[in-house]
């Protein structure tokens, strides 16, 4: 039995974004209207709130790492206002971008996929031409979300932009793995927490219709940032009204896991920031975060960006490249995917 089907409580649209099947059998969970097609087995969204923390670098290299381990990977540059994933991969200015797909109603996602030069790794570049590309309309966003859910790949990696706009958050919470990139510095950690909170409550908001807790969530959302309610508070309130619903809500919220990647760790202490953040997050917010590991600050990574090549290809033995490979294999381990023989 597939995982989504085993949870009858889920609404259909939630079903669509539920965890895919861990087995390799084709899953027909595509949204209606787009035909029945395979959906990506796993969606990874890379976010982080703050800009310039290496989201694109992590996305690109993670894509390379997963592709190198024999999986079909589709990278999507969802940083609509500041797309540069293609640069990280050395693709150059792509002819077809996401905005082509978004503007032309008839275009299929396949039409805007460009190869990256790395086997099994393809790219949907971010919007280049339109200056208002960042301001995705709701309908456009829905279309993109649905289409992405129907994309054919083993892994779909979404490189998100900075900030906590709903455009960003919605992609993040759609993913199976929400990767939160964080630098070991207060500005980044601050934004990461804000991002995680925003994602958490956005998720809650999406679920509220199922549980009839609109008021509660709304009040929680309007609270000042500092006194932002935690999962405990929300659950407590829901429980007072509807104990059974609270149980389900708790289960579903617990399934919403953020995975941390600490980037540019310069000291040994920095390497533990991920664990610390995850621990503090859990202590105060009551939700698990996974620490996927830290990427050492590495001049090779910087040099690779200068060369517009993924560090994993440019210098596969550099600390940064090794760290990303570790993260990739950890993700695969979480998904229970036996790593195919590397080509």
């Amino acid at each position: 039995m597939r995982l989504p089907m085993s949870k009858p409580s889920r609404a259909p649209q939630a079903d669509a974004r539920a965890l895919g099947s861990p087995s390799s059998e084709p899953v027909h969970a595509g949204p209606p209207g787009l035909g029945r097609r395979e959906r990506p087995r796993r969606i990874i969204a890379v976010g982080g709130g703050k800009g310039g923390i290496g989201k694109s670098m992590v996305s690109a290299n993670l894509g390379v790492a997963l592709a190198q381990s024999g999986l079909n990977v589709l990278l999507v540059d969802a940083d609509l206002g500041g797309a540069n994933l293609h640069t990280c991969l050395g693709v150059g200015q792509p002819e077809a971008t996401l905005s082509d797909f978004l503007r032309r109603n008839k275009a299929r996602l396949e039409d805007v996929i460009v190869p990256t030069g790395v086997p099994r790794l393809s790219l949907i570049a971010g919007a280049q031409d339109a200056l208002d590309a960042a301001n995705l309309k709701y309908a456009q966003k829905q279309k993109l979300l649905k289409t992405l859910l129907g994309a054919q790949a083993d892994y779909l990696i979404l490189d998100l932009g900075a900030g906590t706009s709903f455009n960003t958050i919605d992609f993040f919470i759609m993913a199976d793995h929400g990767l939160l990139v964080v630098l070991p510095e207060p500005t980044s950690v601050e934004n990461a927490y804000r991002f995680a909170k925003a994602a958490f409550f956005r998720r809650l908001q999406q679920m509220e219709a199922q549980y009839g807790i609109q008021d509660l969530v709304d009040s929680a959302l309007t609270t000042r940032e500092g006194s932002l309610r935690t999962l405990h508070d929300v659950l407590e309130q829901v429980r007072r009204k509807d104990p059974v619903g609270a149980e389900r809500l708790e289960r579903e919220l617990a399934a919403f896991r953020i995975r941390l990647v600490v980037n540019q760790a310069r000291t040994d202490a920095d390497l533990n920031v991920g664990t610390a953040v995850a621990s503090a997050w859990k202590k105060f917010f009551g939700i698990d975060m996974d620490d996927l590991g830290a990427i050492r600050y590495d001049d090779e990574a910087w040099r690779a960006v200068r060369k517009r090549r993924p560090v994993l290809i440019e210098r596969p033995d550099s600390p940064a490249a090794l760290a990303i490979q570790r993260i990739a294999s950890r993700l695969l381990a979480i998904d229970g995917t036996p790593i195919p023989a590397t080509p």
């Binding site: 927490y193 935690t230 405990h232 920031v273 621990s279 503090a280 105060f284």
Partner: protein
């Protein structure tokens, strides 16, 4: 996942319930670093006071869990199986499966017989060790713990009072493991000395003594861990430790606080066991440390411990120690000591008396010293011989009385003061409330708020029209017109409504009701006119 305020200490420190002492310490220091105020991990996550609250609770958790006795008690509260805890706490003990009571009883018996060579030796060792080790330990952690406990003790007292069978509050808690054992064993021997002891050491002292008790208990705990022998020696070792420490280093007044306190607390731990062993140990300890300058102190230490064992009184302990160590403060605790003396000496035994008697002169010819020591001795027989009935209650009563006079008075005074202030404040509040209520004219639920009623309300409030106009920013003319029900002269309803709402708010009335009622009147009357 619970909010951290509801987590158990184990969950807080993220350790298993079977965690060893080092594990807990390691976890604690790791978490303290993690949740340090300047830690990056908590930056912008939550409010600073939430982090502080978490840190405080973690410290609390560490304090409890790293103390053998407190942990046993806490686990009992949690409903954890005692055996596991006993294992974790006293791993090296030869009979870990046996409950603390039985172990203590056994140890006690062996000590009484003096046939078991291990226990005295161990205690002597502990005493010897104590002279060197605990002193540095005490000064640091003790002060820290004191600060911690001051904030914490009371909160726990309540809970432990409910659950702890001995009702000793925080005091009982530290003692629990030992008291437990000791009380039970002594009961086995002499009768029901446990009950009075426990009951006496309850609420009155809880507040005052809890600090003292808690402060030291943890310190001896480390010594306990070191002691390789079962409960009896272990419970003694702390006793010996603080006492020994008090004479050795902190003879200076500044440090006196810590050792003195320790002295007071020690008794609560070691009380039962020590009492019995004291007689045997006394000689051993003194012989071992005889050559050193601390000989009197060491010799006294058992007796010292014995004395408080029955009487927890901090005052007493102070007396007992003050002559021994520094003799700086004889004046303070004399009265309670004296008060205790009469009941105590009655069952005095022969052996300890001479030894003790010999000591006071050695150290200092203090007037309070002899009595204090004599008390000290009295418990010893009480436990060992079985004449305890009179003594242990006596000691216990002395226990309550001692601090009751000393610290308790201060506390009571402080309480009285606090209560007085609170009552005064309450009185003020209630007076104000009472003042207002009667002044308000009775407004029936269906009353119509016409100008007349509004004027009456205003007058009962003691406001002049000018005052109201100033505060509400409603022009005097409008106010007058409102009160005179000159509807035609009033502004259009939209404005009038605002005026009425403001006015009603100022008068402490329900703005909506007033405005609706008045506007209704206005529209109806002006329509007629």
């Amino acid at each position: 996942m619970k909010p951290f305020a509801q987590q158990t200490y184990y969950e807080l420190l993220e350790v298993p319930v079977t965690a060893q002492m080092e594990e807990i310490h390691a976890a604690y220091s790791r978490l303290m670093e993690l949740y340090a105020p300047d830690s990056i991990a908590v930056y912008a996550l939550v409010d600073a006071d939430q982090v502080d609250a978490l840190r405080a609770r973690m410290t609390e958790a560490m304090e409890i869990l790293t103390d053998a006795d407190l942990r046993v008690e806490y686990d009992k509260d949690l409903g954890l199986p005692a055996r596991k805890v006993a294992e974790a706490v006293t791993a090296p003990a030869p009979v870990p499966e046996v409950g603390p009571t039985q172990r203590a009883a056994e140890a006690l018996a062996s000590a009484v017989e003096a046939s078991a060579s291990t226990s005295p030796v161990a205690t002597a060792e502990a005493a010897g060790k104590g002279t060197e080790e605990p002193e540095p330990e005490l000064s640091g952690p003790a002060a820290f713990r004191a600060s911690f406990v001051s904030g914490y003790s009371l909160s726990y007292v309540t809970s432990s009072l409910q659950t702890a069978p001995f009702g000793g509050g925080f005091v009982g808690m530290p003692a629990a493991g030992r008291m437990d054992g000791g009380a039970a064993s002594s009961a086995a021997e002499s009768g029901s000395s446990a009950a009075p002891m426990a009951s006496d050491s309850t609420s009155v002292e809880a507040g005052t003594e809890s600090n003292a008790a808690a402060v030291t208990v943890a310190a001896p705990a480390s010594v306990v861990a070191e002691a390789p022998s079962p409960a009896a020696p272990s419970s003694e070792s702390p006793v010996a430790a603080p006492v020994a420490s008090s004479p050795t280093a902190p003879s200076s007044e500044s440090l006196a606080a810590a050792p003195v306190v320790s002295g007071t607390a020690t008794p609560s731990n070691g009380s039962p066991v020590v009492a019995a062993v004291a007689t045997t140990v006394q000689l051993e300890a003194s012989s071992i440390t005889a050559p050193s300058s601390e000989s009197p102190s060491a010799a006294l230490s058992p007796s010292d411990t014995a004395s408080p064992s029955t009487a927890d009184a901090s005052a007493e302990a102070q007396v007992a120690q003050s002559p021994v160590a520094t003799e700086p403060e004889p004046s303070v605790p004399e009265e309670p000591v004296v008060a205790q003396v009469p009941p105590a000496p009655s069952p005095v035994e022969d052996t300890p008396v001479p030894s003790v008697a010999a000591q006071p002169p050695v150290t200092e010819p203090e007037p309070p010293a002899p009595p204090s020591t004599s008390i000290v001795v009295s418990p010893t027989p009480s436990r060992s011989t079985g004449t305890s009935r009179p003594t242990s209650p006596a000691g216990a009563s002395a226990q309550t009385r001692g601090p009751g006079r000393q610290l308790g008075d201060a506390q009571v005074l402080a309480q009285d003061a606090a209560i007085a202030t609170a009552e005064a404040a309450m009185a003020q509040v209630s007076a104000r409330v009472r003042e207002v209520r009667p002044r308000l004219p009775d407004i029936p639920a269906d009353a119509e708020f016409n100008g007349e009623l509004l004027r009456r309300v205003r007058e009962t409030r003691g406001f002049t029209l000018h005052q109201v106009a100033d505060r509400t920013r409603i022009s005097l003319r409008h106010l007058e017109n409102v009160e005179a029900d000159r509807y035609t002269l009033l502004p259009p309803p939209v404005y009038l409504r605002g005026i009425l709402m403001n006015l009603a708010r100022e008068l402490g009335l329900d703005p909506l009701r007033v405005s609706r009622s008045y506007l209704g009147l206005a529209s109806e009357k002006s329509g007629k006119k």
